[in-house]
């Protein structure tokens, strides 16, 4: 399932996948895989992403009903 919230939060800060990857210390392909829904990140990585994007875990990773 695609993570459109992550994609839009990143775009809102005008960050490319590579920029976000560099900030959280992972590869660009990993960010791409998360956005595409091909990879479920660990809680540590979710937290790092949220910190960079200034969002909470719920806002980025919690599915809407």
């Amino acid at each position: 399932m695609k993570n459109l919230k992550l994609k839009s939060a990143r775009a809102a800060l005008d960050l490319s996948q590579q920029d976000l990857a560099d900030k959280v210390g992972v590869s660009r392909q990993t960010i791409n895989a998360i956005e595409k829904g091909d990879y479920n990140p660990t809680i540590n990585l979710c937290r790092s992403i949220c910190k960079v994007l200034g969002k909470t875990l719920d806002e980025i990773f919690w599915e809407d009903e």
Binding site: A11, G25, V26, S27, T30, N32, L45
Partner: protein, 373 residues
């Protein structure tokens, strides 16, 4: 902060030592063969053979267990016709004795003909010496038997059974005899050689580990860093590689047990499994963007791959030109260089295909982004 454990480097080192030891064991056993096939014309005049004897040397390159197969027949006679060969048709009886490098007799036999005789022997490394005598009378036979054949028996008793045979021999004539001698088996290096080799490799491995530890501590070499997804994919890559190797060796065992003819060197078949496993791991990791570490320069690795691939290709071409690639209708271990070159070039092809796939995906993402905007 996670503290680095010493267990992982220790385990890696133990695996390295185990691998080296297995390699030594495999390398310490090697097939060795020697084949001799010749025809000799023997003339008998008034009961005297010319030549009186011929000699043949052969080398054993490694100590071990060997099968020695001997045969001699009058030229033009085949195995089916051997029953027709009677001593009265010949003017002599062939007697053979084989000596080891120290001059100790290891085998002796005297007969009109021998279709095929095989004996298994433990042979030391060295040059062996075979002498074929042409015996025309009972006195020559007794002399030969006394020296090499009868052991603790009395020569007279031993020779009694052959008296009538020698009486029926032709006194004049010329005969062609066909001789074959084959040596085949598995020699192994001596325990001293194997021990020295294992110790040498162990000391070398220790020095390499020490060197790596020193340069890592001095920060001259940075250890590769993978993110969590890459670690996961690398684990899957290792799993597929492991099962590939497992299946390969199971199939190899089945095929070898079935007694199939080998068209490649025995050691090469075992090395091939490691190649397959490595290739599966590398190919899987590249395809899932988990081969190159975050702090690794892709271009440096690619240049290294290209150089290794080209170097192996060059070595393969050199061996091909010199004719070392195939011997006795079988691929020799130098084909490993060709496999190495093939593997590195295949990795390039996978990298190229992955790059094209990524470009296509990126274009789709960009198109989708534009559409959303």
């Amino acid at each position: 902060m996670k503290k680095k454990s010493i267990v992982v480097p220790f385990l890696l080192f133990a695996i390295l030592l185990l691998g080296v030891s297995v390699w030594i064991l495999i390398r310490s056993v090697n097939a060795d063969t020697w084949k001799g096939n010749w025809t000799q014309t023997v003339t008998v005049e008034n009961g005297v053979a010319t030549p009186e004897k011929i000699e043949q040397n052969f080398d054993v390159n490694m100590s071990g267990k060997y099968d020695i197969t001997l045969s001699w027949l009058p030229a033009g006679k085949n195995n089916q016709e051997v029953l027709e060969i009677l001593s009265k048709n010949l003017g002599f009886i062939t007697a053979v004795v084989i000596f080891d490098g120290r001059g100790v007799e290891i085998y002796a036999r005297a007969s009109e003909s021998v279709v095929k005789e095989t004996m298994t022997m433990e042979l030391e490394k060295g040059t062996y010496h075979a002498q074929y005598y042409y015996l025309t009378d009972i006195e020559q036979y007794k002399d030969f038997a006394g020296k090499y054949l009868c052991g603790t028996y009395e020569v007279e008793d031993w020779a009694d059974g052959m008296r009538s045979t020698f009486e029926s021999l032709q006194k004049n004539g010329t005969w062609d005899m066909t001789y074959k001698m084959e040596l085949s088996g598995f020699g192994s290096y001596t325990a001293g050689y194997a021990t020295g080799a294992i110790l040498g490799i162990l000391i070398g491995a220790c020095l390499i580990v020490l060197f790596l530890v020193l340069i890592t501590k001095s920060h001259a070499l940075e250890s590769p860093k993978y993110d969590e997804r890459q670690e996961l994919e690398r684990g899957r890559g290792f799993r597929y590689a492991f099962f590939t190797i497992l299946i390969y060796y199971c199939l190899l065992f089945i095929f070898l047990s079935a007694g199939l003819t080998l068209y490649v060197d025995f050691n090469l078949l075992f090395s091939l499994g490691l190649f397959l496993g490595t290739f599966v791991h590398v190919a899987y990791c590249i395809w899932h963007e988990a081969y190159f570490a975050l702090n690794q320069k892709t271009s440096t690795v690619m240049i290294l791959f290209l150089l290794v691939g080209l170097a192996n290709l060059l070595v393969t071409i050199t061996h091909f030109i010199s004719g070392d690639l195939i011997q006795d209708g079988r691929f020799t271990p130098v084909i490993l260089n060709a496999l190495c070159a093939l593997m590195f070039f295949s990795v390039f092809v996978i990298m190229y295909l992955k790059k094209r796939s990524n470009d296509r995906i990126n274009e789709e993402i960009e198109a989708a982004d534009e559409e959303e905007e």
